[in-house]
């Protein structure tokens, strides 16, 4: 699906934590469902563990919205070509960046109020 000329990443904010996690993984590299789950687990030290339903619902939504897309064929270095691989789109990158900036400004505020200790 191609987003119209009026595409504005801010419209899609804030992202759900799961959607943001998925985008973060895919910004680094194309991945399949299990790899996304493992990468999220590793990044959060095992605190966030995605289950199949939550993960694939979010993936479906992100595909419908055009923030990520499914690869027609798996990347060449793929270990298992029968899996479904996902890649982040240009819009997806923009939205992820916008979400990161939004969080950053919130973090800045939190820091300024001493919630995280002074930098």
């Amino acid at each position: 699906m191609s987003p119209g000329p009026r595409f504005d990443p801010a419209e899609l904010l804030p992202l759900t934590p799961v959607a943001f996690d998925i985008l973060l993984t895919l910004v680094a590299q194309d991945a399949h469902g299990y790899a996304i789950m493992r990468s999220v687990e590793e990044r959060t030290g095992g605190k966030t563990s995605l289950h199949a339903g939550t993960l694939y619902r979010s993936l479906s939504r992100l595909v419908e919205t055009g923030l990520i897309e499914e690869l027609e064929s798996p990347p060449e270095e793929a270990s298992d070509e029968r899996r479904r691989y996902y890649r982040v789109t240009r819009e997806g990158r923009q939205v992820a960046a916008a979400e990161a900036r939004r969080l950053e400004s919130q973090l800045g505020a939190a820091r300024a109020h001493g919630l995280l200790g002074r930098a």
Binding site: M1, P3, G4, F7, E11, L12, P14, L15, T16, A19, H32, G33, Y34, M37, H51, A52, G53, T54, L55, Y56, R57, S58, L59, S60, R61, L62, E64, T65, D80, R82, R83, R84
Partner: protein
């Protein structure tokens, strides 16, 4: 690469996927299954069963939550046709709006339930009882009936049973030459092995002990697909025959090659790997240890095979196929099908081979010989399948009754909530939202109930194992694992749907205006009443069916207790101590040993009588042989089949078996040439129905290939030897000298406390021969109790479930009538104000209750009559439609129903007309 997931898990997860809308499922199902499997694998690698159970629980919750959420989103999508694509989807992926409100609904439901703790507790306990019973029984069903046997590709294993159709024999062993013909002739077989078991004494450095040994063909372990953990499996040379005529243990014989069980290796050799290659004395002969089986390896064979299950020593049988006679039968046959071959194909091939054997052998022809192929697992569980299925049926009924009760509770409560729901509806809550709210409450109740139920089930399983249902194969592997938990969750979902749906639909269908202006909601109350009454009638009917089942079991148990087994087990001690063949090769030596032992035992103070027998009743061993009169010499079909037993002088006196005619054996009978026998009343009745059997002669085939004449000197009462529940075949008793060998099971009648004599008995055996182990020391009473085990097991469980059902049904009846009384308070008040007597009111309410109970009773009787035949095999001595049981249970049920109706009715008579009228 296929996902690393078991078939069961795959089926189960695909079931859970059904929560999702079809399109989503078809798109993502395979990937989700793969992810689930990989996660499961990670969990298994890092944690134990508890982790795995948690993994399943979370996966279930995930599917339920997201599945419902996805369906709601999809519905919303369909309704909202307009709008930009981005605008639409934005909401969706961000909010998971369905999920949010779903969580909100759950919180709201939890608050509602907390606000009514009384209602919630009753509902939860009721569901927990139903689900707990289901979980416990399902865990047994799974371990015993569903779980594959712990052998390599166990579904390929088959048993081959000889049949003698003209003599009613269904589980006949085979001779070595017959075995060879089947093994080499049936192409559908990848392999065929033979096995027989027998007790042997193990002597050497430690105390002598008796262990169960299995003599197997050398390919036995290969056919099962099991390798020893230590050493090697048998090779063909291990079974090379001894020189003709050589007796075991004598010069010139080859050593036995043995594989030990893991337990015996630990116990006897302390787990020392150097035990391999050592020579041990087994049954008086030298044997070499070549291997050790893995821990937990067990022989799973149907009880009808008459094989010992806890085998500790495996021998490679040295069989001389060339010189072994075809009427020397002792091998039980277990085979493995070739890949792709079916039992039917094998049966056809086996039939052809059997036809050849029959054509060559007149005895086989007259006996109606055939060979039957059975699948191992099906045959193993054939005996217990009816009990388990009856129990499973019982717990499903308990759960249905529990659901009926909770459903009624919800219905009753729903009428109290009309206003709340009406207000919510008036404020814009859609009908589907209200239904959803109520379903979520039901679901919450069901899940909490299921959690409590799992706790109840794990306690219930311990109790169930305490009943020692020894006849249930692999009962020791019963546990609550992922599959059982999944079953629990599915039953919870089913239960929630069942008890939640009717009240939810009912409540949401009420007329808004009615509920707001009128407390009793007249338009919907008629429909509700109909539903309530139907539910109660169904509930009463189901619990009556269960109670009748329980009643039939009680009758069976009483019947079994009152059966005279043909002996008096009180005060009788039994044990094995036999002179080993290898050290006492001559029959006269063995006989002398037995006589001296008997003298020594009888000389112990406190011993009333001592004697020996083989086989002892109820120990699972039976030796069958032919018998017939003169007629059978010309017409072999006139032969009958009897159990043969060896009894020493004094056996019948020790066991308290009544002598009906003639005399019992005397020491003088114990001479080589005396062809005298004692028969039981059953055999005497068959051969000489109207005359005295004493002095009559008939034919037996016990030690010789051809039938020989024996003379009857005595007739005794029939002993139930196979099982207390069945009469069993006719019996011929021989003297020990006539047969020439002993099993050597001793029976000792004690004057007072039998346990106090055990020390003295052991001392006498030791004094006579220190190398002979005293084994299998049991009271005769223990064998009798054990024989009652299966009936007691079924009785206890069906009884417990019946009692639960009765309590639930009476609570249900009570609850509905209480509600009716409360609703009709005003009417009753008016009636009383107009002068109705208390008695009339009582009659009114009780009458209404009894109508419901009576309707349920009638329905229940009909159902019970039509389904009770499933219990046929569990019952002893009574028919599944026993009128006395049906009558008594119906009466008991009506009595309870009257009580359940009387309490609310009495409350009705205490209604104060003034208060009642003012209240509304």
């Amino acid at each position: 690469m296929t996902p690393p997931v078991g078939r069961f898990a795959e089926v189960a997860y695909r079931f859970l996927l059904r929560f999702y809308p079809r399109a989503f499922r078809e798109r993502n199902g395979d990937e989700m299954l793969r992810l689930f499997a990989e996660k499961g694998r990670d969990t298994r690698e890092t944690g134990g069963t508890a982790r795995l159970a948690a993994h399943w629980l979370r996966a279930t919750a995930d599917c339920v939550k997201n599945g419902i959420g996805e369906r709601l989103d999809e519905g919303r999508e369909r309704r909202r046709v307009a709008g930009t694509p981005m605008g639409n989807t934005r909401r969706n992926y961000r909010g998971g709006g369905g999920v949010d409100s779903f969580m909100k609904d759950i919180k709201y439901a939890a608050r509602t339930l907390f606000k009514n703790p009384g209602f919630s507790w009753i509902a939860i306990v009721t569901i927990a009882l139903g689900i707990g019973a289901n979980t416990a029984i399902f865990s047994v069903v799974r371990a015993v009936l569903l779980q594959p046997l712990p052998y390599d590709e166990p579904e390929e294993l088959v048993l081959l049973w000889g049949e003698m159709r003209n003599r009613g024999v269904t589980h006949f062993p085979s001779s070595p030459p017959d075995y060879r013909d089947y093994r080499d002739g049936a192409e559908a077989l990848e392999g065929l092995a033979g096995i027989s078991t027998f007790p042997v004494s193990l002597t050497g450095d430690d105390d002598p002990i008796q262990v169960n040994a299995a003599g197997v063909t050398t390919n036995f372990f290969e056919v099962l697909g099991i390798e020893p953990v230590l050493g090697r499996s048998f090779v063909e040379e291990d079974g090379a025959p001894n020189p003709p005529g050589a007796l075991p243990g004598q010069a010139g014989t080859l050593p036995g090659m043995v594989v030990l069980s893991h337990a015996l290796w630990q116990q006897r050799f302390g787990g020392d790997p150097d035990a391999l290659g050592r020579t041990i004395q087994i049954g008086g002969g030298a044997s070499e240890i070549v291997g050790v089986m893995p821990p937990g390896f067990e022989l799973y064979m149907p009880q009808t095979a008459g094989l010992a299950q806890d085998v500790e020593v495996w021998f490679a049988q040295r069989i001389d196929f060339e010189n072994s006679p075809r009427n020397n039968v002792f091998l039980r046959l277990i085979g493995r099908l070739r890949d792709g071959a079916t039992p039917e194909q094998l049966q056809a091939q086996v039939d052809r081979i059997s036809a050849t054997l029959v054509a060559d052998d007149e005895t086989k022809a007259t006996a109606g010989y055939a060979m039957r192929v059975e699948e191992l697992h099906a045959d193993l569980t054939a005996g217990v399948r009816p009990v388990l299925l009856a129990l499973f049926g019982a717990v499903v009924f308990v759960l249905l009754i529990a659901c009926a009760n909770v459903s009624n509770l919800l219905l009753v409560r729903a009428s109290g909530r009309d206003r709340e729901l009406a207000v919510r509806a008036a404020m814009g809550g859609s009908r589907s939202r209200l239904v959803r709210q109520m379903l979520i409450e039901s679901g919450l109740l069901a899940f909490v109930g299921a959690a409590v139920g799992v706790v109840l089930a794990s306690g219930g399983i311990s109790l169930l194992l305490a009943l020692q249902p020894d006849d249930l194969p692999r009962i020791d592997s019963v546990q609550i694992d992922g599959a059982v938990l999944l079953f629990t969750m599915l039953s919870a979902v089913a239960a929630a749907a069942l008890f939640g749906m009717v009240p939810a639909i009912q409540s949401s269908g009420f007329e808004l205006a009615d509920a707001l202006k009128d407390r009793s909601g007249a338009s919907s109350s008629a429909a509700r009443k109909l539903i309530r009454n139907t539910v109660v009638i169904g509930e009463v009917a189901m619990s009556l069916v269960l109670l009748i089942g329980a009643g039939l079991m009680v009758r069976s148990f009483v019947e079994l207790n009152s059966v005279s087994p043909g002996y008096d087990p009180a005060g009788v001690i039994t044990f094995n101590a036999a002179p080993p063949f290898a050290r006492f090769p001559q029959a006269v030596d063995r006989a002398n040993f037995m006589v001296e032992m008997q003298d020594r035992l009888e000389s112990i103070p406190g011993v009333v009588r001592a004697s020996s027998v083989f086989p002892l009743p109820l120990t699972g061993n039976l030796f069958n042989g032919r018998y017939g009169t003169e007629e059978a010499l010309t017409d072999p079909e006139a032969f009958g089949q009897a159990t043969y037993r060896v009894a020493a002088p004094g056996y019948f006196e020790t066991m308290g078996t009544t002598l009906l005619a003639g005399r019992t054996f005397t020491p003088a009978d114990n001479a080589d040439s005396a062809s005298v026998v004692v028969v039981d009343a059953k055999l005497a009745g068959v051969l000489w129905p109207n005359e005295s059997a004493i002095g009559k002669r008939f034919l037996v085939r016990v030690t010789t290939p051809e039938p020989v004449w024996v003379e009857v000197v005595g007739v005794v009462e029939h002993q139930r030897a196979e099982d207390l529940a069945v009469e069993g075949p006719e019996t011929v008793y021989f003297t020990d000298r006539y047969v020439g060998s002993f099993g050597g099971t001793w029976v000792v009648k004690a004057g007072s406390d039998p346990a106090a004599l055990m020390g003295a008995i052991r001392a006498e055996v030791q004094a006579l021969d220190p190398d002979i182990p005293v084994a299998s020391v049991e009271l005769m009473q223990t064998y009798v109790d054990r024989a009652m085990g299966p009936t007691r097991f079924a009785l206890t469980l069906i009884g417990v479930f019946g009692a639960i059902a009765l309590v639930l049904a009476s609570v249900g009846l009570y609850g509905v009538l209480s509600f009716v009384v409360r609703q009709r308070t005003a009417e009753i008040g008016v009636r009383m104000a107009f002068g109705a007597e208390a008695g009339a009111i009582l009659k009114l309410v009780v009458g209404q209750g009894l109508m419901l109970a009576g309707g349920g009773l009638g329905l229940g009787l009909l159902v019970a009559l039509s389904v009770s035949s499933v219990m046929d095999t569990l019952l002893v001595g009574i028919s599944p439609t026993d009128p006395a049981t049906y009558g008594a249970i119906s009466a008991l049920f009506m009595a309870v129903a009257v009580l359940a109706c009387y309490l609310p009715a009495r409350r009705a008579t205490h209604v104060n007309p003034v208060t009642a009228l003012r209240d509304d």
